[in-house]
Amino acid sequence: MKKILQLGVSITFLLISVTVFSQAKKPTLMVVPSDVWCVKNGYIMTFNDQGTIVKIPDYKKALQENSELLQVISHINGMMAERGFPLKNMESAIKTLNSNAAEDNLRTSKNSGAGINESPIDAFKKVAKADIIIQLTWTVNKTGPKKSVTFNLQGLDSYTDKQVATAVGTGAPSFSAELPVLLSEAVLAHMDTFTESLQTHFDDMFENGREIIVRIQTWDDWDGDLETEYDDGELGDIIEDWLADNTVKGRFSTTDITESMALFEQVRIPLYNEKNRAIDARRYTRELSKFLKSEPYNIPNKLVMKGLGRATIILGGK
């Protein structure tokens, strides 16, 4: 009797753990004002890049000074949360980054007085980011006394640079409505269309796998390259064969390949591995990294990841 009870308890735990682990990795989403909106409204930083004037959006200033932007973002955040998909809030993400940076600057080791180790790459990567960026633009149109709002929401995959969702249109013109009211109406009118196209993207992802980008690079002190011959062909071809064997329905495209680099786009990776655990670009590419490290290739390599959807293997060392 006791044994049966123990067996029952173990089966229940097993089922719970399988359920927990079999959830695909949820992409993070964040609403960001578009560059064109920031430029139009004067929320930009300008600097001289070797003679070329470069304008970059100043998100912090925009969020601190523009109450309409805040209203639209919070409206979108609220509607997405209602659908069980809460968004990452850009304002909070920027604040956290700033406070983390301040803390890191002040922190020292109790024993040696050493500071926090930060490579230039780490510093570069310290920006507010999400897997899918919802780029937001609106313009106010005026025809005589009538006002209307043209609204544009674009869901952009940060890694594949693809537009995965969209909602765009112009609201009904009004003589009397205030801008905040028109903006609220625009969000209400477009969010269902936007979530609908996002749903289509997720459905495609569940059916055909997550789309990622895999890059292969080489350290300049490595004595081999992607044209090095092995028993089963050149290294570049061997990597392509591995991808063909390990992608969903063999789907990927070789965008570029030379003796020192390769770029594979539209690589469709399964959402779960054979242990039914959710995988992302890093976990998936780690298998390729292991494959190249093992016999007969014995190529030491370094795996670098960027979010859920982009991974780079640098061949020739760590």
Binding site: Q23, A24, K25, K26, M79, M80, E82, R83, G84, F85, A167, G169, G171, A172, E185, A186, L188, A189, H190, D192, T193, T195, E196, L198, Q199, F202, D203, F206
Partner: protein
């Protein structure tokens, strides 16, 4: 003897009224059971709702009005609308696959039964009066009546998600 006659007459009258009411109900269902209606957006409603005008067809204008709400909920679930004026954007149906209606027949039969659950998700947006332009005689024996209703869209979506009929944005993650 006189009392007996009155009693029989009263029973017949009650039965007759019931039969007549039932016949009218059946007739209304008969007129609209093939889900023949047009749905259009009537403007931007408050958050979580959709304001729509549903045009129902029937030989009797009263039947078309009484079936307006049912048609509107059915339209939001299975047909959607094309958008158009008043800032409206196109809306896709909550259930995309056409075979779902057949697959979940038992649920939808109960849902759309007279006095069924669909009534929870719809309410009249006007005081019940039909605008003169919304009462059209499309042929010698048929009317087309437009009724404006408010649909509790978010709640309806959640209900269908809980039944596994439609998929939520976060499902699978």
């Amino acid at each position: 003897m006189k009392f007996k006659n009155i009693l029989i007459l009263a029973i017949l009258l009650v039965l007759g009224t019931n039969v007549n009411a039932q016949w009218k109900k059946n007739k209304a269902n008969e007129d609209t059971k093939i889900w023949r209606y047009d749905l259009e957006c009537e403007g931007i409603a408050k958050q979580g709702s959709k304001l729509v005008k549903v045009w129902s067809y029937s030989k009797n204008p009263k039947h078309a009005i009484s079936r307006g709400m049912k048609n509107a909920v059915h339209g939001i679930i299975f047909k959607g609308y094309a958008g158009g004026g008043q800032g409206c954007t196109p809306l896709k149906p909550l259930v995309k696959s056409v075979d779902k209606e057949e697959k979940f027949k038992a649920f939808f039969d109960a849902f759309f039964a007279d006095g069924g659950e669909y009534l929870k998700y719809v309410s009249a947006a006007t005081d019940g009066s039909i605008a003169p332009g919304d009462r059209l005689k499309v042929s010698r024996r048929e009317y087309k009546i437009g009724v404006i209703v408010n649909i509790q869209f978010d709640q309806l979506r959640k209900r269908l998600e809980s039944e596994g009929i439609s998929k939520g944005l976060a499902s699978g993650f």
